[in-house]
């Protein structure tokens, strides 16, 4: 098609032809995916400290990264659990405007990830298993956060979790937003609550980049395959935990009970394995992540 230099209709044509194709295949934005996104972000959904309150009555919060500051978007500390100690670390959001601002909407800065790392190293030293609860829209995008090394804080957090000798369990309890979520989720067992999501990018940002239109977020949510059922199918999570009737926000105690049982089962399995073997299995699991083709074959 003859066009003026600099005038690119290719994207527009592709957009229309794909839309036609989607219609032909009946590929409509799937309402169920978007419902999960909204449930995962539900303002009444239990957050890390709510689970801690119900699961670990003797929780002692330890603050600060011993380098720069304390980041209230990540909380962590020691808890007594079935005759032993457990290190609990998780993203924390706020409920009302002041606490939301205080918690920075659950978006950690480098000091948050560095606090998590020092707590994990502490746990490792005393053979304390680590439980992480993941619930963040993503790591905070800001100038100061960049200057303090947001990228390297996430990378070293991943490395810290990869190295741990103790059993690690991660549960995605709400929003699993991109690298900011994964930084606390490189674990031996990764579980997801039924109505949580886990994605490489928020559907809004994905729509803004690929569709150049953030109102296509529902479509993006469908395409990204971010629901717990999708992720179980992709073998990214080990187990999906059912939520109480109507969702976790209707019954905090019930949700905490389910989480506690799952934690118990996971730890029982993980603790029968030697630290070296556990690390080996962890590495094998992540080595398998991804789908590619080699010389025409599709391999897992």
């Amino acid at each position: 098609m003859p066009t003026l230099p600099g005038v690119h209709l290719k994207d527009e044509i592709a957009k229309i032809s794909n839309r036609l194709m989607e219609l032909g295949r009946g590929r409509q934005p799937d309402k169920a995916s978007w419902e999960k996104v909204e449930l995962a972000r539900h303002p009444k959904r239990p957050y890390t400290l709510d689970y801690i309150e119900h699961m670990f009555p003797g929780f002692i919060e330890l603050k600060g990264d011993r380098l720069f500051a304390d980041d209230p978007a990540i909380v962590g500390g020691l808890a007594a659990y079935q005759g032993r100690t457990i290190m609990v670390i998780g993203h924390q959001k706020g409920r009302d405007l002041p606490s939301r601002t205080y918690r920075n909407f659950g978006m950690p800065k480098p000091e948050g990830y560095r606090k998590a790392q020092r707590l994990m190293r502490l746990a490792d030293k005393f053979h304390i298993p680590v439980l992480t609860l993941v619930d963040t829209p993503g790591a905070f995008p800001g100038v100061a956060a960049e200057e303090r090394g947001q990228g390297s804080a996430i990378a070293t957090s991943l490395m810290c979790m990869a190295k741990l000798q103790v059993p690690t369990v991660a549960v995605i309890i709400g929003e699993g937003g991109s690298g900011g979520a994964l930084a606390l989720a490189l674990a031996d067992r990764v579980m997801m609550l039924e109505n949580s999501i886990y994605s490489v990018i928020t559907p809004e940002a994905c729509a803004a980049i690929l569709w150049r239109d953030s109102s296509e977020a529902q479509q993006a949510a469908t395409s990204l395959k971010l629901t717990s059922a999708d992720l179980e199918e992709l073998e990214v999570v080990d187990e999906v935990l059912p939520e109480p009737r109507g969702g976790a926000h209707k019954d905090y105690a019930g949700a905490a009970r389910i989480l506690k049982e799952a934690l118990e089962d996971s730890l029982r399995e993980l603790e029968t394995v030697s630290p070296l073997q556990r690390k080996k299995e962890r590495f094998e699991k992540y080595r398998r992540m991804g789908v590619w083709r080699e010389e025409g074959l599709t391999l897992f």
Binding site: N18, P141, E146, R148, Q150, S178, L186, V200
Partner: protein, 325 residues
């Protein structure tokens, strides 16, 4: 993650180049292809480092005829059957025809100034250098090759972040590559990462910043969140030097900035030093520069012979080490 990195193309033709050359994105001077090639694609007016493709980078670094590509047949699948305005498969095909590569990273073994290395170079031209399953797998295999052969690993990154079209699987490549770096660490294999323009998102937040030594090219944009995302969040215009290599170094995030014309020599020196000093003990870098080009001359040959003798016990030791495992 997956941030868009703005590229100023206003002064370029439809395929990004001007006939017979390019104009410098920084000072706008017109540069001919020959000028660019002879100066390693650095503008000789203002010193701006223009983007280098993965193939060009390999050619700039590897000794002639020593490049041996690893896993050249790995290609992306479409595990999510992802659909946006275009099919993922079409985007891949287009990127393949534009770059002549089948993924956003090429990996291989090569010799650089006669030093054996495993070299991995990312290609920003391939879907913004985004990391999907194939990038993660190729990185893993490169690390494995480095461990097996006991060669150091040298990685050039250039990436807009994770590949959205592979969804969560691309995010998990951050975990996968991190595990690969840990394996390198356990085997005490030196790993040097060179951050080139631009390195952002999930690549910056995984293997690229986990190296033993982090090198940056001058002027490269290195940040986790892209400038546009941050501008939208804080509703302010960012300073010109935001996230640039120089600013990253001032904030302690980068070990060293090396201009491209010194890169090859200095990288070999750094890798040699990390190997325990043995490989470079007899090779003072600055004298080497004074040598005749192409490491010719009787002196260089004699030096290589001495080096080979000096290194022999070390090589033997490393060989034994391998058998033990």
């Amino acid at each position: 993650m997956a941030n868009k990195v703005s590229v100023d193309i206003s002064h370029r033709g439809p395929n990004g180049s001007i006939k017979g050359g390019e104009s410098c994105p920084s000072c706008k001077e017109l540069l001919t292809s020959e000028e660019l090639e002879s100066n390693l694609r650095v503008c000789h007016h203002c010193g701006h480092h223009l983007r280098v493709s993965a193939r060009q980078r390999v050619a700039q670094l590897a000794d002639e005829g020593t490049w041996n590509e690893l896993a050249p047949h790995l290609r992306s699948a479409d595990p999510l059957e992802f659909f946006d305005v275009r099919l993922y498969g079409d985007r891949i095909d287009e990127a393949e025809s534009e770059t002549g590569l089948n993924e956003a990273i090429v990996t291989g073994t090569a010799r650089i100034h006669k030093m054996d290395v495993v070299l991995a170079v990312m290609e920003f031209g391939f879907m913004g250098g985004s990391m999907g399953s194939v990038v993660g797998e190729k990185f893993w295999r490169a690390a494995e090759a480095a461990i097996e052969n006991r060669y150091p690993l040298l990685v050039f990154s250039a990436s807009g972040g994770a590949r959205m079209q592979e969804g969560i699987l691309s995010l998990l490549q951050m975990a996968k590559t991190t595990c690969a770096v840990e394996l390198l660490g356990e085997a005490r294999i030196p790993f040097v990462s060179v951050l080139t323009h631009p390195t952002t998102g999930g690549v910056l937040a995984s293997f690229a910043t986990l190296a033993d030594v982090i090198v940056a090219e001058p002027g490269s944009l290195l940040c986790f969140s892209g400038p546009r995302v941050i501008e939208q969040t804080i509703k302010e215009k960012l300073p010109e030097d935001f996230g640039r290599a120089e600013s990253n170094m001032a904030h302690g995030q980068v070990d060293i900035i090396i201009p491209r014309n010194e890169l090859k020599d200095r990288l070999v020196q750094i890798l040699g030093m990390l190997e325990g000093g043995v490989a470079c003990a007899l090779e003072p870098l600055w004298e080497e520069k004074a040598r005749p080009a192409g490491r010719g001359g009787a002196f260089a040959e004699a030096l290589d012979r001495v080096k080979a003798i000096a290194n022999a016990p070390w090589r033997a030791f490393k060989g034994r080490d391998r058998e033990d495992q």
